[in-house]
């Protein structure tokens, strides 16, 4: 029992088995190839297609977190899950906040203002 290798079974890496890694791998390959084939065939409208592809990516994200990282397993409390959720919050604010602000700036700047700016500055 004093063997450190046995102790390592109680943390992160110990919870995975061959079965979990294999199912994670097969599911990920399937999700990737499905997204690729959907885009190549392009049978539905672009709006639906992008929603599908992003949905498949998010599914694969969750699949890898569960099967490769074993997130949410192991002894409670799940501090790693809390840090993860906080990261998701920061990322959402960062990405959607940037897109919102930049599209707003783009919307409020008239072509004439851009032209004046370019003339004054000699380009962007």
């Amino acid at each position: 029992m004093s063997n450190p290798l046995n102790n390592s079974k109680t943390h992160y890496s110990g919870h995975g088995t061959f079965k979990t890694y294999l199912s994670g791998y097969i599911l990920s390959v399937w999700l990737t190839v499905t997204a690729y084939l959907l885009v190549v065939h392009h049978n539905i409208s672009s709006g639906f297609l992008i929603a599908w592809v992003v949905g498949l990516a998010l599914t694969q994200f969750i699949v890898q977190l569960v099967f490769f990282f074993q997130l949410g397993k192991g002894p409670k409390p799940h501090w790693n899950l809390f840090v993860f959720l906080f990261m998701i919050m920061v990322v959402l604010i960062l990405v959607f906040g940037s897109l919102w602000i930049m599209s707003n700036l783009n919307y409020r700047m008239t072509p004439q203002q851009i032209q004046t700016y370019m003339n004054n500055q000699g380009g962007f």
Partner: protein, 200 residues
């Protein structure tokens, strides 16, 4: 006699899981770095300055091959961790070597793609879109490079000293790092390559 052994038994896994947690926190901050680069890309992707868009430049089949190679390397890395937990030194070396070869092929494919773009005159200087593309994808490539160098160092350690507790811990971190890079690549594949093909 029994009391000190009991405390060491309780303390050791706790301490190592704290270390793993610390590494996990690092990975989460790295996610924020990638998120800011993704946000930059999302803002700049239509600013092609009269140059080519993603639909013209990227080969979807090439990107799919890269994706499948990286995904397979993430899987073989997981098999390496399983061997690590069972203490099979030879299998650890075998699976991490396979991971290394796959990671290296991924990196070579990526450098080849960059080289091709630069040769065509579509480098990061061409447009805002290409600047953000190169920044995002090469930051991922830089992580892969560091991961590969780290893998060499750890494999030499395993080869010379065997599976010491410190080496086992570092290999566990490396495996987490490698899975993390695969997760980031899912979003690069989707947002850069697939989205680029949907909206030409």
């Amino acid at each position: 006699m029994s009391e000190p052994t009991e405390t060491t038994l309780i303390k050791t896994p706790d301490a190592s899981s704290k270390n793993v947690f610390g590494f996990w926190v690092y990975l989460m901050t790295d996610c924020v770095l990638f998120a800011s680069l993704f946000a930059t890309y999302a803002v700049l992707q239509s600013n092609t300055n009269g140059g080519p868009s993603g639909a013209v430049l990227f080969s979807l089949r090439y990107a799919l091959t890269e994706t499948l190679i990286l995904l397979t390397s993430s899987f073989t890395c997981g098999l390496g961790v399983l061997a690590l937990n069972r203490g099979h030194k030879d299998k650890v070396l075998k699976w991490f070597s396979v991971t290394f070869i796959l990671g290296l092929s991924f990196l070579v494919m990526e450098i080849n793609e960059f080289n091709h773009l630069v040769q065509q005159g579509d480098s990061w200087r061409r447009s805002g879109f290409l600047s953000s593309f190169f920044t995002l994808v090469s930051t991922h490539g830089l992580h892969i490079t560091i991961g590969l160098l780290w893998m060499i160092v750890l494999m030499i350690q395993v080869l010379k000293k065997g599976l010491k507790p410190g080496t086992v811990r570092r290999l566990t971190y490396l495996a987490m790092f490698w899975h993390f890079l695969d997760v980031v690549w899912i979003f690069i594949f989707t947002i850069v390559y697939l989205r680029g093909a949907i909206y030409p």
